[in-house]
């Protein structure tokens, strides 16, 4: 049994092609069924996101596997792929395993270390298990890939620091305020960036969230979704004394808040800190506002500076993440090698023999020589009898049948074979 991979991603193909080749979640179950009816493919999983479509297949050596899989993709997407073969990568065994682990670690993502991919891998695996299209090989491969993803995030800083403007804004707010729970925010503009920023604030459990937008319905809709409070666009300055964070994402010809507004509306709130983020184009807030001592005003250039800084810091972590991936790949391959039948039988016999000798030695002092020889004979026969059935059973699958791999795996697990222990 071998693991094969045919895939395309943001590094090898453009978005247009990736969109066409991608599977929608509803279509995956059927596609998996079809895959398993091809040749001697016994295990299959499809990972399809906006940045990649990859097919993992477990089967015995198949010389034409890639052309078979490519034909399958051609049918499912309704595209002629003969002149598009350069968009794909083809990998096998160690290479395929390493690739998947890199994907799980976020090393293969457009934004290095982004966390969504792990969730997407889990979704893909869930669909595959529901369709019973994975077996012992892919089950192990996938669950280990999740572990790799978690380990890389835990042991390296690959996922540290904001890499989107919206998240950088929230991170900046956290450098000023200790608990966002006790703070309230005003979001001006209910567009995409505004929504994303508001969502991040909500994730950090911001105390109160006011939302305003020129088109009232949009603000109402977003306020409902995020459990915020809608404010009339014309009356947004009224909440100024109540908020600690203001995020401007609107498109407006002139400043929505200028220095005199701040002076007027904050005169009675004394020295309270105000944090303002201007992501609007053209700018929503008068840059002069930054002159107030306790007001921090930042614009999109500042946030992009943070993002760039964080991306370059993440890149420094790549070697560490890669060494974890190599280590885990080796672990997987070792497990896979252990699935051969003959070594397992030898190990199993050794294990039982060890148990027999241990018990025998424990009692030998109380036995006479003849008694000892008798018991030695009896226990030897007992071990042979116990081993007989599993041996016969396993030998049936001596030619690498997938069912055999599963049984070997189970036997190894219940007898604790391959674990380092002294009996």
């Amino acid at each position: 049994m071998e693991i094969y991979l045919l895939g395309t991603n943001h590094k090898t193909a453009d978005i247009e092609f990736r969109e066409k080749i991608a599977f929608s979640p509803e279509n995956i179950p059927k596609a998996l069924q079809k895959l398993r009816s091809i040749g001697n493919i016994t295990e299959a999983e499809i990972i399809s996101t906006c940045n990649r479509t990859e097919i993992y297949a477990g089967c015995d050596e198949m010389s034409d596997i890639y052309s078979v899989l490519s034909e399958f993709l051609s049918k499912s997407s309704g595209m002629d792929l003969t002149d598009k073969q350069h968009f794909f990568y083809r990998m096998k065994g160690e290479q395929a395993v390493q690739h998947l682990f890199k994907v799980a670690a976020g090393l293969d993502s457009m934004v290095v270390g982004e966390p969504q991919i792990l969730g997407q891998l889990k979704d893909a695996y869930r669909i595959a298990t529901e369709e019973l299209s994975t077996g012992v090989l892919l089950n192990r491969l996938m669950s280990q890939s999740f572990a790799v993803g978690k380990r890389v995030r835990r042991e390296t800083n690959l996922g540290e620091g904001a890499v989107s403007v919206a998240y950088a804004a929230v991170e900046l707010a956290q450098k000023i305020f200790k608990d966002l729970e006790k703070r309230s925010a005003l979001l001006i503009g209910a567009g995409d960036t505004g929504e994303l920023t508001a969502r991040h604030l909500k994730e950090k459990s911001i105390g109160k969230l006011f939302i305003t937008n020129r088109t009232r319905q949009k603000a109402e809709h977003l306020a409902e979704m995020l459990n915020g409070e809608m404010i009339d666009f014309e009356r947004m300055l009224d909440v100024l004394p109540k908020v600690d964070i203001i995020i401007g994402t609107a498109t407006a010809p002139q400043f929505l808040i200028d220095a005199s507004d701040i002076r007027k509306h904050r005169s009675h709130s004394g020295s309270r800190t105000l944090f303002m983020i201007d992501i609007g184009v053209p700018r929503n807030f008068d840059p002069k506002i930054n002159q107030f001592e306790s007001v921090f005003l930042h614009d999109i250039d500042d946030l992009e500076q943070i993002v760039d800084h964080n991306i370059s810091k993440r890149k420094q972590e790549i070697p560490r993440a890669e060494s974890i991936v190599s280590e885990e790949t080796e672990k997987f391959l070792e497990w896979k090698r252990s699935l051969q039948i003959t070594p397992t039988l030898v190990e199993l016999r050794k294990k039982l023999e060890n148990i027999r000798l241990l018990e025998l030695n424990r009692h030998c002092s109380k036995l006479s020589d003849t008694e000892f020889q008798k018991i030695d004979r009896v226990t030897r026969a007992l071990v042979n009898k116990v081993l007989h059935l599993p041996m016969v059973e396993l030998k049936k699958y001596a030619n690498g049948h997938p069912e055999g791999l599963l049984r070997v795996d189970i036997i190894r697990e219940i007898f604790g074979l391959g674990e380092k222990e002294d009996l």
Partner: protein, 274 residues
């Protein structure tokens, strides 16, 4: 015994240097090894430091405040204890580097110039004196910590305000946390300085029959007391900005340094180290 004390005296700056290095590696490079071991090594260092002060007290039979260099090591110990408590409370270790640089310098000066052979003034055996000076030491160490947190606050404040997002920005805790650390340690220092002034007054009253004094050093102490008092009061009741409070802490500490150095060197005062 003298050998052990001498050995510890040499060992302490080395240990503090190691701690400073590790906390620095953690602050600047987010070093894994440093993160894992630095707190334990610091705790060990503080235990050694504690042992050193106790041994000295026991062996020389006086509270180790006979010279300014003895006082420095005791201030260092008190300050690092305050820091350890704060680190334990807020679970943030990135500020340790700033504190440790300061303590390392204190300990280095102390270890280099300390002299064990000096004759002892009788005064050091007076119990009221021990209480008075201990309170003053605790007060000053609180102010030292408060000064360092104010410094970090102002650094981060200007970095954010001027959109410089480097290591200061990414490694220090939030402005609000730094500001409250400044405030807490200033309050701690203020409490003990008040105690020191009252105890000193009682003692002076016993000897000279007057509670207040116009001695330069004591006037400086009143001034310090006033500045930190103002900081604590205005932070609590007048809603002054954290930045103003940070400046108050810094100027308070500047006055303390002045009183320790200048008054001892240039002014005559009965109130000085021998």
């Amino acid at each position: 015994m003298v050998f052990i004390i001498n050995f510890l005296n040499t060992l302490l700056p080395i240990l503090y240097f190691t701690c400073t290095y590790l906390y620095g590696a953690y602050f600047f490079r987010n070093d894994d090894f440093a993160e894992k071991y630095m707190s334990r090594i610091l705790q060990f260092t503080v235990a050694i430091h504690f042992l050193d002060v106790i041994l000295r007290w026991y062996h020389f039979d006086h509270f180790p405040l006979a010279s300014i260099f003895e006082a420095l090591t005791v201030i260092g110990l008190a300050a690092i204890l305050v820091y350890l408590y704060l680190e334990f409370r807020i679970k943030v270790k990135t500020t340790g580097f700033f504190i440790l640089v300061f303590i390392f310098i204190l300990q280095l000066i102390s270890s280099a110039f300390i002299d064990f052979t000096e004759s002892l003034p009788e005064i050091l055996k007076n119990r009221l004196f021990v209480f008075h000076t201990s309170a003053a030491i605790l007060g000053y160490s609180g102010f030292a910590i408060s000064f360092l947190y104010s410094l970090m606050y102002l650094l981060l404040f200007h970095n954010i305000k001027k959109s410089r997002f480097g290591v200061i920005y990414s490694r220090l805790p939030s402005l609000e946390v730094l500001s409250s650390l400044n405030y807490y340690s200033a309050t701690f220092g203020f409490f003990f300085l008040t105690a020191a002034i009252v105890l000193g007054g009682i003692w002076a009253n016993k000897i000279w029959g007057q509670f207040l004094s116009t001695d330069p050093k004591i006037v400086v102490a009143y001034l310090t007391w006033f500045i930190y008092g103002l900081e604590i009061f205005s932070g609590r009741f007048l809603n002054w900005s954290s930045k103003k409070l940070a400046y108050l802490s810094m100027s308070g500490f500047a006055i303390i340094l002045f009183s320790m150095v200048a008054v001892n060197l240039f002014l005559t005062s009965f109130h000085e180290f021998q």
